[in-house]
């Protein structure tokens, strides 16, 4: 069940790159292939790698309580619904693309035909992409965290203590059975 030292350190190196790649996929959803669902899944993969390469309980204490992901997930869905309802208030109907070509945020004039693309075009589509992205990221991370909670993985201190006990030949057998998981 435990991962070796090389695997853990490679995971620690790769996690930020995976986060950046997932964020790129989410933000460029209206220009390149990809979008909120795909990018959110990539970022959740990074969270799973984070949980594997750090120890689960250390990880939970250090960066990511499980409530934060629930909050992120709910915030994503709320952002989507609020953007959808803003279409009624500002424009003509639910999910109306009122920001498109308005000149403001995400409203740059669009070049038609084959073009490399501008990040600040397409109106509400980038906002909805971002909302779906953080929603999928939070949802898959919550599921991954709950599955890791069921594994009852040891922390680094417990594993080190166990390794030290099994390495020392003079330790009595009664003590050896007591360490480890509770």
């Amino acid at each position: 069940m435990t991962l070796g030292l090389i695997g853990r350190n490679a995971g620690r190196l790769l996690v930020p790159l995976i986060f950046i790649f997932g964020f790129y996929i989410v933000v460029h959803g209206h220009i390149t292939p990809g979008g909120g669902f795909q990018g959110g899944a990539v970022i959740a993969t990074g969270v799973a790698l984070l949980l594997v390469s750090y120890y689960y309980r250390d990880c939970l204490e250090r960066f990511i309580p499980i409530t934060n992901f629930k909050l992120v997930e709910s915030a994503g869905l709320m952002l989507y619904i609020c953007t959808a309802l803003a279409g009624i208030v500002v424009g003509s109907g639910l999910l109306f693309n009122w920001l498109n070509a308005s000149g403001g945020l995400f409203g740059h004039p669009v070049a038609y035909g084959v073009n490399p693309g501008d990040l600040f075009t397409a109106g509400t589509i980038p906002i909805l992409n971002f909302a779906i992205g953080i929603e999928v990221f939070g949802a898959l991370s919550v599921v991954t965290l709950i599955m890791f909670a069921g594994l009852q993985e040891k922390t680094q201190q417990e594993e080190d203590a166990e390794a030290a006990e099994s390495a020392a030949p003079l330790v009595s057998k009664r003590k050896k059975g007591k360490g480890g998981r509770k």
Partner: protein, 94 residues
């Protein structure tokens, strides 16, 4: 298995396999892929999506603009699924 009328009778199984093969062959033989009968809708999206939504990615313009309500439903389904998982396994984490 000597019982007559059982679902595992060899004759019944042969008939079932032949029927299933025929049913599975219908889409492979009867449909032409890449040549739909009515293609006016997809041609409309290809022609107009960049003008109407401003997105270079036609798939994104369909998923988040033309069919945005469907995406809202998808997100809600995912949310409810995770809610169910968190409720069922709520004793695993504090």
């Amino acid at each position: 298995m000597k019982e007559t009328g059982s679902i595992f009778h060899p004759r019944f199984m042969i008939v079932l396999v032949v029927l299933a093969t025929l049913i599975l062959l219908v889409p492979a033989v009867g449909l032409n892929f890449g040549d739909p009968i009515t293609s006016s809708t997809d041609q409309y999206y290809i022609d107009h999506s960049q003008v109407e939504t401003g997105a270079n990615n036609v798939v994104a313009s369909i998923v988040f603009d033309y069919r945005g309500f469907d995406t809202l439903g998808e997100a809600t389904v995912l949310f409810i699924a995770v809610l169910g998982v968190a409720m069922v396994f709520r004793r695993l984490y504090k």
